[in-house]
């Protein structure tokens, strides 16, 4: 830290003449954009603002706890943050502590990369029933997201259902299988991960026996990746039961599929055929993918507790696989269950009144949102601009692309005189005296790792914002 300060003091004169860039949201999109900008433009100064006191967004709060390897990218992001011309400022909320027009006034460029945090709803009857839960919130709950730590999940009953929207040939979020895996995984394996203590306690008391995964379309349209499916199929004490009827004629189409879809479908077919050979005991849990079903309404008892889901059966019509449409057949089906997770996608929130969102994303042209004279140019990257699709790699590609456009624009002028965070700080500190810098995060990080060590896990996350601030300010 001292070294960084010295380095900054030493270099500060040269940075004053460079462009001031503000990035809102310290997730992968923001960090990848910062990585590209600092690599190509030495004179740039980047301030990354984040709503939470801690960085890394969905890497910290979205990636499943049993996937620590995926989080290794944090090391690359940390290197970016430790550069003298990159600053992290946590616990700052856009639209509350500071407004977009103020950021644009004091920065040469503002990049919004605050993701998509709201989940889409089905809009069907009884969706407000107890134990109908947004999968995104459940993930936040087991990963220690402060706003989800108090989520009420009742594991008292034995059945569960999952609703997954499927989009044709598109890599979508991996949530459904992540959640199913966490629910079905032996608790001894979960213990070794950085899953939060409250989630571990609740899950260890769960008597859950079966998880259904319900999808509107068929096996050829599944949205999970082959990696997730392979893990699911390998879970200890868990048997996957497919509905053979869903796979009629699928094998005939396989040879003509592009490689990724082909390998994924082959893995499912292999599992369908293997099913019979397994023997069960009372420890066995069941994972049951159900295709061609669209949720019609949730069924509840007198206390508004979930008892089941009424589904409409569907079929695909059309000759070409890519152009098939999903239509109801008129038949109905009921799954009895006491807990349901909804995972049909997310949308972004309107963080600032000046921001216009359409269909849950900020409209943009190659990342450029708006360019009005006198104000810093406005850009968007990551899920806020693309919608919630793809894995980290896709966010990386998009962030580099947008950063490239930013570079072109920033390089076309050398007249930089914006005040940057010096000015913004004056505005923020009027109502918020708890801005957390990188040094503050390092203290939280160390505390979490120390707590984890005691319990034999990589870290025990601090789940309250107040506690985070207290640790950072020590």
């Amino acid at each position: 830290m001292t070294f960084k300060l010295l380095k900054r003091a030493f270099n500060s004169s040269s940075y004053r003449s460079g462009p001031q860039v503000c990035i809102v949201g310290a997730g992968p999109a923001g960090f990848y954009a910062a990585m590209h900008l600092t690599k190509k433009l030495k004179s740039v100064n980047i301030d990354i603002l984040e709503k939470l006191p801690v960085p890394f967004g969905l890497i910290r709060y979205g990636v499943a706890p049993d996937h620590p390897e995926v989080k290794n990218v944090i090391n690359q992001f940390t290197k970016v943050a430790q550069q003298p011309n990159v600053n992290f400022y946590g616990n700052i909320t856009l639209g509350k502590d500071v407004h977009l027009h103020q950021l644009r006034q004091h920065y040469d460029a503002v990049l919004l990369s605050y993701g998509a945090e709201e989940d889409k709803t089905l809009g069907i009857e009884n969706e407000d029933a107890t134990n109908v839960i947004a999968a995104r919130r459940f993930v936040g709950w087991y990963n220690g997201l402060p706003s989800d730590k108090d989520l009420k999940v009742h594991f008292v009953h034995v059945m569960l259902t999952y609703l997954a929207e499927q989009q044709l040939f598109l890599v979508k979020e991996m949530l459904p299988l992540d959640v199913a895996r966490i629910l079905l995984m032996p608790i001894d394996e979960l213990k070794k991960t950085d899953i939060t203590e409250h989630a571990l306690c609740a899950l260890s008391e769960s008597k859950l026996k079966e998880v259904y995964l319900v999808g509107r379309r068929g096996p050829l349209q599944v949205a999970f990746t082959i990696k997730e499916l392979r893990e699911q199929l390998k879970l200890k004490n868990c048997r996957t039961i497919w509905n053979d009827k869903d796979f009629i004629d699928v094998d005939k189409i396989v040879p003509d599929l592009p490689r990724p879809r082909k390998r994924l479908t082959e893995l499912m077919l292999k599992s369908v055929n293997e099913n019979q050979a397994l023997t069960d005991d009372d420890q066995t849990k069941y994972f049951k993918p159900v295709f061609f079903r669209s949720p019609n309404k949730f069924l509840v008892d007198n206390n508004n507790h979930l008892t089941g889901i009424e589904l409409t059966c569907t079929k695909l019509v059309g000759d070409k696989l890519e152009e098939q449409r999903c239509v109801p057949t008129g038949e109905k089906d009921i799954i009895n269950c006491n807990l349901a997770f909804r995972s049909i996608g997310y949308k972004s929130v309107q963080a600032d009144k000046d921001l216009i969102l359409k269909h849950g994303v900020v409209e943009n042209n190659k990342g450029i949102v708006e360019d009005s004279a006198g104000l810093g140019k406005l850009y968007v990257a990551g899920w806020l601009g693309t919608g919630p699709v793809g894995v980290i790699l896709h966010t990386m590609g998009n962030a580099f692309q947008v950063a490239k456009v930013m570079l072109e624009n920033l390089s076309s002028t050398d007249n930089f005189n914006k005040g940057g965070f010096t000015e913004i700080k004056k505005i923020i500190t009027e109502n918020n005296s708890n801005v957390i810098d990188w040094g503050g995060w390092e203290k939280i990080d160390k505390f979490e790792k120390d707590q984890g060590k005691i319990k034999g896990k990589p870290r025990e996350k601090v789940c309250s914002v107040e506690k985070m601030i207290e640790l950072a300010k020590k």
Binding site: E69, N72, P260, G390, V391
Partner: protein, 158 residues
């Protein structure tokens, strides 16, 4: 460095022996068969030339140690390939995607295991001769190897 190498060789063998219990092991992975020879070669610190050709045609030529993976080469030589190796060689991303010439692809001593193929399936610009750089271990035979690094732009999405 040597310790690191030994460590990486061991973990890789472990990883593949675990992962080979996979549900669709429709080919045999060679990796677990010849780990010692790699270590022996590394002891002699033999060097080979490797060239990374970036999507814009720019060439990064470098000298690398036998026994290192292509990801090691990028990291150890601080090669300027953005975002390369996000998961640090743990087979959970595809940011170290490289495209080989057909003849090089065919002479690699180890075929891609299921888990590597799973990650490659998510990569942009997947080809029949695509591999992950973290899974290609350099041998003396591979001296002069030239690989392409595809662009990570999201043209695969609509």
């Amino acid at each position: 460095m040597l310790r690191n190498l030994l460590k990486s060789v061991t973990t890789r063998n472990l990883r593949c022996s675990i992962k080979n219990n996979g549900i669709t092991s429709n080919f045999i992975n060679q990796r677990s068969i010849a780990p010692l020879s790699t270590t022996e070669l590394a002891l002699k610190e033999e060097k080979v030339k490797v060239t990374f050709v970036l999507y814009d045609g720019k060439k990064l030529e470098t000298e690398a140690k036998v026994g290192d993976t292509l990801l090691d080469v990028v990291v150890n030589n601080d090669l300027n390939i953005e975002g390369y190796g996000a998961c640090e060689g743990t087979l959970t991303c595809s940011t170290c995607h490289v495209v080989l010439k057909k003849e090089d692809y065919d002479r690699l001593p180890e075929e891609a295991c299921d888990e590597e193929r799973d990650m490659l399936d998510l990569a942009y610009g997947l080809t029949d001769t695509s591999r992950l750089g973290c899974q290609i271990t350099l041998t003396k035979d591979l001296d002069g190897l030239e690989v392409k690094v595809p662009e990570t732009i999201n043209d695969a999405r609509s």
